[in-house]
Symmetry: none
Subunit: 127 residues, 4 copies
């Protein structure tokens, strides 16, 4: 269980991404309620306001709907919306930079797949 925060990104953003991942992975299905703000806040030892801010982002993205007094629920079509939007954003904004880095570092497909599978980094140094 990773409850560590990435310093280069706000916590609320990381909380948002966490939910997005759960939706894409099918852990959270359309119509399901989001885990309650106070539970998440307690679990991750984070200010409830921060969790709320993360959830609010999901509302703004049209992925989630808030029902008065009941909580927040995942919208119908959320998964498809995500697949579309995130793919586009990833391919357009993130991947180009990533691809450039990979090439600069001279990383081979083997090394990349290797790393994710069995973590064995043996960087070859020139000269």
């Amino acid at each position: 269980m990773d409850r560590e925060w990435n310093d280069s990104q706000p916590i609320y953003r990381q909380l948002r991404d966490r939910v997005v991942a759960m939706i894409l992975d099918g852990v959270l299905k359309e119509g399901d309620p989001l885990p309650s703000v106070r539970n998440v806040a307690a679990e991750f030892r984070v200010n409830p306001l921060t969790v709320l801010k993360g959830y609010q982002q999901l509302v703004d993205d049209g992925l989630v709907e808030s029902r008065r007094g009941l909580g927040m629920f995942i919208n119908q079509g959320a998964r498809n919306l995500l697949l579309q939007g995130e793919r586009q954003k990833f391919l357009g904004e993130e991947w180009p930079r990533i691809h450039a880095t990979i090439q600069r570092l001279g990383l081979t497909p083997e090394e990349l797949l290797d790393g994710t599978a069995k973590r064995r980094s043996k960087p070859k140094v020139e000269e």
Copy 2:
């Protein structure tokens, strides 16, 4: 030439990364002087202090050496140090997250390579 700044990362960080890229690409070789703080500041229309901050990071990383009154110079072994360090950081910290996203979005190798090869031939709607 892109002199635009990415909002999601501080300028001094991007300046640092720019130099790193130049070293990796062989544009800047070991022993070479870095472009002077003032020049870079003028060229990119940025505060000298911001440039300096970026350069200082390189000094802290042991990639660059500052010689009083002369300027800043790329250390011997900087490139290898970079190849080692950046590879490790990328494979250890960044790639796992990226790999997960790719799989979550169901992106195929074709789609990934496609984007980088013939970008902009097939503009999609902006969000």
Copy 3:
């Protein structure tokens, strides 16, 4: 209480050293928050940026951790890290020079201890 600055060393360095001393002396314990940048800046009538710069050094040294929106906190193990690191640096880099000077000036242990014990009881001519 001395709030005067030593001209031969940048202020941010002296601020850094001040915190280091407080950790070594046990005034600041592991887990404790550092006095806030703004407070220190006000207290010493110094620019916040200068204080921040000093604090950043501590972060870089792994002695202190910055928690978003909360403040900066002394890491676990900071004191030992310091004892190790500072001792090594002092014995390796500073003491040899100091020892040489002491011998060159022909200073005896008595003179050295004397000065620190009853300073100012025997004022000498200023140059």
Copy 4:
């Protein structure tokens, strides 16, 4: 042969200190000429102006005298002047800080003498 420069002090200052050490050690005697600016500059690969600046400090301190067309010579009484002045400065300004550091780090006389003699640092860490 140490031709390395200490970053925390200007080069001209270090050149000045070098000559002072040579006088105190008796390598340079009163009436002796200082090594020529250009020789020193060449030997240490330093700008002649920098050497000159260091020498000028010695003139200002009354330790050295410049004779037109001949060079710079060590004054009569230079050694005693030094012994007095440097002792006072050291005991008054430097030693107090050094002493405080030594105590903070809990360094024993043995460790201090040890280090200068046979370099064997075995820092004891608490807890």
